[in-house]
Symmetry: D2
Subunit: 382 residues, 4 copies
């Protein structure tokens, strides 16, 4: 693996590396960790990389790595830069024949996403978009149970993602994470809805197997002087008649990272909370509530395949993230002929990326509109 | 106390009686428990009432009781009939000079509510609308903390009230509670939103001290053949710039009575769940989360005044309900000169009733409209 | 009902009255609320009793009430005085032919308990010992499931009752509840173990249907200068081979009233927490955990018979307490011929009182002994 | 790192590898994964090791690795075999100059532990005993708060470790984990108490900073035909006057891995549950309960140093385990001169190993004895 971005002090770069490390399938072999060559070098050394695999620019890395023999060169790149720096390195990596892991949202705008989607399809290369939360074993279990009809026809979906870390206008006081996220030129046309609303929307569609068809959104700019939304709520209509709501906020003071989803069908409902990820609560209409537990009794094959430790040995965010990397690595190994394919070992790709960009477009459009319901239909809604 | 409605097998009548009994301040002395005189008699006897205080009709009760000497006759009536039977007995009771306790929503429509409101104001009689949930001590505490500025300026309010008991079309299979609630002629123009949405709206305004100013609602009729909503969600705007959402559903299969509210200000957020009512969670932006507990340390005077048992001896729904009755009884005793007034011992009245009817009107209007935002302003929005 | 003790400011007297009031079956008609006649009068008036039913002494009350006609006089007395004031009024009440409700522990010592037990048996009068916690519907459910073999043979019982209110030596600073409880002449030979350890022991035996056969106890006097235990732990052996532990503490700083029990059999375990009393957690060996809920699906008849409100309308301590009073009142009405007997409507009696006194004796003996295991066998272990 | 044991299908070997991988500081470079050379080879290949670093025996590995140049050879060995295979490879590794990571309990008996302890001290080599649970950041925080006097003088410690996986006699039906653990020749003189009781005892001492001084134990052999304990409970006395209990069970049917500790001082208590490891509950005597959260506000430096992700991104068992490996790797790097020492980055060593073996000896002695209290004093109680 070669990494683009993620130098020292970058939050998400370290998360990607730990997650890639966990299963011993992936080795960090090269990197261009910063647009500042010195910082890149320093970061690479701290990661025990040999100097000749630490590059001053991603262009240099892609070019030089592509010239190394197959047995030495990196197999894929992981791009962990801010949104505005997603498209160019991803496209270049694909052009050089590297598979790509990319953080969400996939690009700065829908048009870039579309180009990337087409490029991936044409090239036949592998592409993983890190919608981390769908990597949790109990999310897999939830999806399985819905697909299996255990809840009956789905009627209601409530998904919410409250955080509180942007309650103060911390981008004005040196918080780098906030700084680029609240800047449209680096973040895109949405703030909170792009950053975490897309996670919530993906999770709702992933678990329910339904697609959001219409929305009615209210975005807010609560922090003084903000250009992008830091908060919002959306009425949702899904195909096949379900409805629901989506909440995303980064000004819910005191909340950590409280992504939560509830899905109700005719026979019962399920509830999953990212902050207590090893429990999946099933509330039945006519029998006692059940709690399914990571590693515990009564789980589907797909949940088991994404679990590393026995019940009661809690798994967390890094393990969920590692499931994406593990599945992506196995897909590459399958391409190489060293692993059998297993459709249960899934990971999000450019379709999910496109849907996320379309979600951003439509939510902003809806919030700005006096029309109540906005259709999600567009050329990007694959 | 004389009771109108609430014969054997009626859910809410028994709840009113137990709540009225609890503190030994109120005695059930008379009743007209059913429109069926025999059933009324049977019910009254089961409640140990003497035969001469069990009446065949509420008209008879009000007339005869009003002729009894002051020391014998009832001081107030408690009306626990379905919505369409609220207005007439309430108005007649006021005309006979009785104070009134009435279940919510206050009447079948806003016009009736307005007449009742005016009548109460003109008569100077006391009136209590049983929005039970604002009787909980931790709700009082939450309201106190917001008013006291402890969370800073309020920004977000999420209130939700999911139930699952109407997941099946049980009104077709003999469920009497469902039967009248899903019938517009007996329930009014809203189903779920009138029955429990009004509780949620009242709770949000009660705790936050803010008023809902604009709404954008989606009501659903999920159960096949239903004329009234059994589910809905609303985007909310409050005065003073806060925003939020309100969810109410009676088809969230597997949910019991999960009224929950979260209120976030600049400095932190609070969370209260009716199903775990003795904990009030305070999530601070920059210090550890705290949990305030009924009867525990750090509580305001108003919370203490609504608590009966020491910390760790859980109080519940009946105690919250009893707080309304206790406060109402003390207000009557104050009128009689036997108790001092205490503004902390509050209970909802016709203003809250009017606001509830206006909420129902506007929510139905919004759901039927293609206009995104509907103002809550009306002649009823006192 | 006539009350002995429980004047103004007494905690448990008010609890008894509210619990007795709740269901409208019992009326407080007389009382001797304090050894101080003026205070008794003042208390009785605050409770709306007529002056001629407020007595200066319990002796006077029992004598005079016994001379009233059947239709006027009290049916039973409720004695809510400190332990040292249990025996004399209870015995006198029985002698005058009144049924008796008595707070636990039953008496100051085992010998008194034995006399009371014999007297009750000889007189044929009804007697209720208020082990409140066995009145909770989910405790009834737990007992039912164990008896029904749903957990298989019982192997382990962990019962614990931590409180923190005696962490400081508050009996020296005016806390009346602490004052008599830490005084052997008024409390008996145990402090914490008598006050709350007996509740824990009763709950363990009530749910499991097993009897404690041997114990190994360590009592502690943590608060400086205390003569009685304020803390302790006990290794337990039950008949039929189960084992476990019992913890009781009043110096577990920060704990409220955290009575909790876990019972494990061959097929699974159950867990019940008094502070969240409406959930009964069932942990199965080989299938997902279930949570049974007061008023919810899948409950036994006995649980339903002790429930007043639908699922999600939380019941609490007063409702559990009221179940004892309700069952006792129905037993009296059965004696009068106005109610059918129902063995599911149980309440603790003198046998449980004797077992509690024997528990106190043996725990103190064990703690003082160097012998490891002490048998619970004695003349009092009925 | 070279690994001894932990071939395919071994639970704890994979845990060690993932934990060692996580931070990118440690590389698995060699291994002898099984006493069966073919299985060792197969396991090593599955882990992408070159054939010349996969060894048929640990003796071969230690010998050959010791002959490699410094820059190539392993720095330390990780021994993840059953208890009876701890001493010989550990001693041999030390003799060859390798640092050692060893699973707990440290050896099969106290005498071996003592020899290892002396050897480590004499050699100056580094040694880490994997008491995983003290690697959790909230455990570090708990230890810090106690040491800092925030709870006042410690009075009570309740530690419990219930599991249910040995409820059935699964060693008779092919469960390999159960098979060796229930065999004294491979497990040692205790079963459950050696396997998980030692974890509980270590955690109690680690957090409280106190030492267990006296015990009174009851061990049980619940599963039919078992020679070793599968369950037990212990009354504890600590130095400096605290007391408590320790529960460990592997027949608590339905329990997963529910290690929980509560520590109470004069001013308040703390509670930590391994299955919800990111919350540390602080119950104050006279102010509201607080919950400290991994990555959240109000934490000590030592907690922060053992945390990888922001608050609300749950960390789990592997991260706790990885903290031991990370700290051990940094200690080795400090020895090499490439890292500064930081006393906050601790890990358990042979002293904790010796204390664990002494705990096993004394618990078995106490359970077999009719004497109530057994002193923990011995030549091994360092």
């Amino acid at each position: 693996m070669g990494m683009i971005g993620g130098g020292k002090d970058a939050f998400i770069g370290a998360v990607h590396r730990m997650s890639a490390n966990l299963d011993g399938l992936i080795e960090l072999s090269a990197g261009s960790f910063s647009s500042n060559p010195e910082k890149s070098l320093e970061s690479g050394r701290a990661l025990f990389l040999p100097s000749n695999r630490i590059y001053a620019t991603y262009q240099e890395m892609l070019e030089k790595e592509s010239q190394l023999p197959d047995s030495e060169r990196i197999d894929f790149v992981s791009i962990v830069t801010p949104n505005y720096m997603h498209f160019d390195p991803a496209m270049m990596a694909l052009n050089y024949g590297f598979h790509v892991v990319l953080d969400k949202p996939i690009t700065l705008n829908s048009d870039q996403a579309w180009q990337l989607h087409e490029k991936v399809n044409q090239s036949g290369l592998l592409f993983c978009l890190t919608h981390t939360y769908s990597g949790y074993p109990m999310v897999k279990q939830a999806r399985y149970m819905v697909a299996n009809g255990e809840l009956g026809k789905i009627r209601k979906i409530y998904v919410e993602y409250p955080q509180g870390w942007l309650s103060g206008v911390v981008e004005n006081t040196g918080n780098k994470q906030a700084d680029w996220r609240m800047d449209p030129s680096r973040s895109g046309k949405a703030g909170c809805m792009g950053d975490i609303g897309t996670h919530a929307a993906h999770l709702a569609e992933y678990i329910s197997g339904l697609k959001i068809s219409h929305i009615c959104a209210q975005l807010n700019k609560v922090g003084e002087g903000r250009i992008l939304d830091d908060d919002g709520a959306i009425l949702l209509q899904f195909d096949q008649g379900a409805s629901g709501i989506l909440i995303a906020s980064q000004v819910a003071a005191g909340e950590e990272n409280a992504l939560t989803i509830r899905v109700y069908g005719e026979k019962g409902g399920l509830e999953w909370k990212q902050m207590e990820p090893n429990s999946l609560i099933i509330k039945w209409l006519d029998k006692p509530l059940e709690i399914l537990r990571t590693g515990g009794a009564g789980l589907s094959e797909v949940a088991k395949l994404h679990t590393r430790t026995p019940a009661g040995h809690p798994e967390g965010y890094l393990e969920a993230f590692a499931n994406l990397y593990r599945n992506f690595a196995l897909a590459i190994m399958n391409r190489m002929g060293t692993e059998k394919a297993n459709p249960l070992l899934d990971y999000p790709g450019t379709e999910e990326g496109l849907r996320g960009m379309n979600f951003i477009d439509k939510v902003v459009e809806s919030s700005d509109s006096q029309t109540k319901w906005i259709s999600m239909q567009s050329k990007y809604s694959v």
